[in-house]
Chain length 679, copies 2
């Protein structure tokens, strides 16, 4: 059951696709107050209460004990104290044995969630706008509550099947020679690969929709060459449009009045990679149309996938703020030995980027009239994704496309995936990446992943190996790293063959993982779930923070600690452990319900499968194009026969019907642990 409550005049965010009538009575469970325009909800928390949700955010699967702020931010340093990351996903589940509440706060401005930080026994949710729709969802189980929420917000984005292949990326692939060498190394060493991402290096002066003619002399031909190698190029597109006369997107954007404006009517500008930029008014339908059409030339040259970046939006500084800062610097220069003044200058410089003042200084022209940016801030990236998706769909009607974005707000899950932004080459970030997945899935972001190996800082061989092992199960399996960091294509490391073996597991599992993904997406279910969702009566399962259910019947438990020789795993029921070393090299170990310490060498990692359910492996291949899913090996711990519905399609059709693509497979053999070949 969903109940909707409306406060003030909410801005229509597009998060929700079902029109509900607002209730007139009081909001159940919560104490609601209005203070200085804000709406504040309070809920007493019992000691055993667990809080799931909030999508992309730091800390654990259980969000209790910290204050989160929905305020999309370009922020690389994802430590446990951070309140905001790149996306806002205002969905929460309050769970305790006698009470389960789903809550969605449909508000595109700043919403803070003090989930027991100030007082362990109280959650305090504050909408700064005070204009919002609140949805309270109660539906028997955690799974069903999420499913009902997902029906409310509409079906998740479906990527093409090739997007489940391994993707190599790096900020620093400057031209086709560079890309060709990377692809050649993968192919020569038989490292499976399906795509290469191009970061901002490919553009002319970081200008969207351009490519360096010297570095990419024939873009179309190069795309074709890559496709012969079964490689898709995936260029980046940023939010800002360089302010430069003669640069077509700038000229046409101005002419179409497609940019956000300041109070005085002039376009708002701020520096990002290209220098001073204007910012498309993605909240305006005309501007979205204009921007979406800018993708056409790239699509016509053969591109089938993009990633959208810097769309929180990220602002390095506005000229106004920088001038203030330099004024301060000039004054400070005369007070040389005043360290407080020096710190204050430092703090002004640090505060230049993404400043609240700048976000309050420009406006959107929407169907609801002119609205100041900060009131709808969290929508910006989502609406960019919508613009891109609509533009791509106009070019490739009926076909799926790859699109993933850094910034997001509920609603954009229908148009694209997201990656988890600029993580670090930290062991801590393997765990964090895993912990974010179920929250993202709750809000419909099924196609997601983290930068494997870590984006910022230097990776190490063992860290990359463990990141890749998590990556085997992430829908988006991308190795990505920042300029000036250690190169992290796997073939640069002593044990690259072992890492290649890890990637072969992904390709062997790909038809099965794709099937699990598509079934979850088409049924409004989660691909990754906290164990609590499947075992709500099991008090131990409720609090497991480092294992996830995957698809219908599997569980993952990544190894995320350096120098670990193994790890603890809690099995909420009997399961088969497949301890992988390579697609064709694994142990099958039946394990009973309960606690286990399991040993894993550096290049070993597990997948767990419920008793009497199969996991399926295909023969693998070096690209998704070459996968043969007509002959499969079923692995299971069986007492009798089992049936599995394998989802298969062409990997490209935009609107597949689930029932038309399910292939019932019957797995039978002698009871016990077995491998069984199907065809």
């Amino acid at each position: 059951m969903i109940r909707k409550y409306t406060f003030g005049k909410p801005f229509p965010t597009g998060a929700v696709v079902r029109e509900l009538k607002a209730e007139t009575g009081p909001v159940p469970y919560f104490r609601v107050s209005r203070e200085e325009g804000r709406v504040i909800l309070r809920l007493d928390l019992s000691p055993e209460e667990i809080i799931f949700g909030l999508g992309e955010s730091v800390r654990g699967i259980n969000k209790r004990g910290h204050t989160y702020r929905s305020w999309n931010m370009d922020i690389t340093n994802h430590t446990e104290d951070k309140a905001s990351l790149y996306g806002s996903h205002n969905f929460l589940l309050f769970y305790r044995p006698d009470r389960m509440i789903g809550l969605y706060v449909d508000d595109p401005g700043l919403v803070s969630f003090d989930l027991g930080e100030t007082r362990l026994s109280e959650a305090v949710i504050t909408s700064e706008n005070g204009d919002l729709d609140l949805y309270v969802i109660e539906n028997g189980s955690l799974k069903e509550t999420v499913r009902e929420f997902r029906e409310l917000i509409g079906r998740s984005y479906l990527p093409p099947r090739w997007a489940f292949g391994y993707i190599q990326s790096r900020w620093g692939y400057t031209g086709e020679e560079n890309v060709r060498a990377v692809v050649k190394s993968h192919r020569e060493k038989h490292i499976p690969l399906d795509g290469v991402c191009l970061d901002i290096d490919y553009m002319v002066d970081f200008k969207n929709f351009t490519w360096k003619p010297s570095a990419f002399p024939d873009w179309k031909r190069f795309n074709e060459e890559m496709k012969r190698e079964h490689i898709r190029l995936i260029p980046i597109i940023d939010a800002g449009i360089k302010q430069e006369k003669g640069y077509e997107p700038y000229d046409t954007g101005l002419a179409r009045d497609a940019f956000c404006r300041k109070e005085d009517g002039t376009p708002f500008t701020a520096a990002v990679w290209p220098g001073l930029c204007c910012f498309p008014d993605f909240l305006n339908a005309d501007a979205r149309k204009w921007f979406g059409d800018l993708y056409r030339p790239l699509l016509e040259e053969g591109v089938e996938g993009f990633w959208n970046d810097m769309n929180e939006p990220s602002l390095f500084y506005s000229p106004e703020a920088l001038r203030d800062c330099y004024r301060q610097a000039l004054e400070q220069c005369e007070r040389v030995n005043d360290y407080q003044g020096m710190w204050s200058l430092k703090s002004s410089l640090d505060g230049l980027a993404n400043s609240g003042k700048d976000f309050r200084s420009f406006y959107h022209r929407t169907e609801q009239g002119r609205i100041r940016h900060d009131r709808v801030h969290n929508l910006y990236g989502a609406k960019m994704v919508q613009a891109s998706a609509e533009g791509i769909r106009r070019c490739l009607p009926g076909r799926r496309y790859l699109l993933f974005s850094r910034s997001s707000f509920t609603g954009s899950h229908r148009d694209g995936g997201i990656w988890q932004g600029d993580n670090y080459s930290w062991w801590e970030h393997i765990r964090l990446a895993m912990q974010m997945m179920p929250g993202l899935n709750m809000c419909g972001y099924l196609f997601s992943g983290c930068d494997l190996g870590g984006f910022a800082l230097n990776t190490t061989e063992d860290l990359l190996a463990r990141f890749l092992q998590l990556g085997v199960f992430l829908p988006l399996m991308r190795n990505h790293s920042a300029l000036y960091t250690r190169e992290q294509e796997i073939y640069r490391f002593d044990s690259w063959e072992k890492m290649r073996d890890t990637i072969t597991v992904r390709y062997a599992l790909l038809p099965f993982l794709y099937s699990e993904f598509m079934k979850a997406a088409l049924r409004n279910e989660m691909y990754f779930r906290p164990l609590a969702f499947d075992y709500p009566e099991d008090s131990r399962a409720l609090r497991v923070e480092d294992q996830l259910m995957l698809g219908e019947d599997c569980m993952i438990a990544p190894i995320y600690e350096q120098n670990a020789g193994g790890r603890y795993v809690y099995l909420p029921e009997d399961m088969l452990m497949i301890r992988f070393r390579a697609a064709g090299d694994y142990d099958l170990i039946p394990l009973e319900k309960g606690d286990h310490y399991l040993e894993f060498g550096l290049h070993e990692f597990p997948l767990f499968v419920r008793k009497n359910r199969p996991a399926l492996l295909c023969a693998g291949g070096e690209s998704t194009d070459e996968l043969d899913d007509t002959s499969l090996t079923a692995l299971g711990w069986m007492e009798g026969a089992a049936e599995y519905d394998l989802y298969r399609d062409d990997g490209l059709q935009a609107e597949p019907k689930l029932e038309e693509h399910l292939n019932r497979i019957r797995v039978e053999g002698k009871p016990g642990v077995f491998r069984y070949t199907l065809s």
Copy 2:
């Protein structure tokens, strides 16, 4: 067996107290090369090789897989990528079943330890100075190798017994009214307390050895008042001396030529808290004498303990570097829309503090002649500790004093303890604090602890509770926090009574923990050890990263994850778990060797004791003065009788003889788990 190898002309650091003759043959195990003045040692690492040591540093107990740099730094953000913290402890143990090597690098300059970061299979140790003594120690077992190293470097500092009491601290206790209120709240609420630290707020303009007359109108009387409450005041002393004519330490320091000088012979100055300061030349014996005597007035007014801070040394900036920076700012102001320039300015400002250039710009006058600071950088804090300790000992001959420092270098473990510096209110930092302890113990830093609750950022109730539980077992049990963060005296939280109960456990265990500490210190043993030291044949124990052996027969396993309902514990043998809630409220649970998932409420935490060995509790008290250790309760899981040697002394004598203070206690009763009252 210890072998010494000398390269070049090492500076005598004072780390080692035994004079050994240098070997003439090649260094065993290591490939040694000289490259551009550096000395480089290389060692191949087998896959199973574990590396212990390096004292105060980030990451796990097993240091493999990262590059560490011994270069003392004022650095608050202890994330896993950091290479340096406040102290340098160049002792390592390379352990694998067929080989164990202890290595000590006696070099006060920059030494880097690439322990398998660049290549997992190789350790590369680089001395930038190229002048160093190398000690290779091989002695049968990990424990014996450490003991032999500890004999080489001399006996650990012994704090007075009262220093094992609970200490409340905060940057922000501005005057006696403030301190009095904190003490009153503890006493009224029966929260045990033995000391209050005064941070820089107590001084006049942050000038060492001054106190604000308005805030502390009668320092001596206030000390007496506090002592009647069984509270010791523990003021901070920083390294820098404010450059201000008329300020006595500055005037006398100048007159005595006690400050570090630049190339041109003028005193080196840099800004720290008081503004521009001169820096005592602690490497000069005269300057140490002068500085040590500055403690006398405070001691005469009743102070018995100090903490030494900012002694890496921390430099906010030198006037020269700041001028360069402002010059850059002025130039940049004319290129307003050049974000690279803006970033470069930001990076210059960020680089002002603790810059290598500044550390290369001043000199020490030593018995070995004038030496540039960077060549001996890591000695600075240790020599400040030596100066303080010598000064205090001159005033309080034959008596123990409390002294703990932020910066350290092997050798200073004989003169004082250390705290782990400015941590954060992060869950991650509970674990890190624990993981640093055994490495510190290896180098003789037995009296140590972290800022409980976290120094920077806001703590939360549950975080503080879990920090305190670790603190129960840390020799230095101090709650400390930074200005502008949430106040974190325990009585400010809803569940303060439960936290008080946690502190009562410390006081009940205090005679036992003190006994274990003193025995370890007087025997050159470790108070905290990795499990590997006690169970080197147990491949599981070798890799345990979140449990520590404590004293002769105990083990701790702190809970360091938010919202955890328990944790996994590996028992390398049968042990009794004492699950504490309060001094008089605990469960006794015998557990068999192996893996266990153990449940702990937020205010529950365990101590494990080997079978047939007792842990002892006294009746507790609200200060160490009031503890009654004449009647003790023994807790154990016994098969028969057991004997325990309880160390007891007056808690103050400077040179206790171990044998004179051991009291043999015989514990007997019916086999099984029991409580047994002794008197």
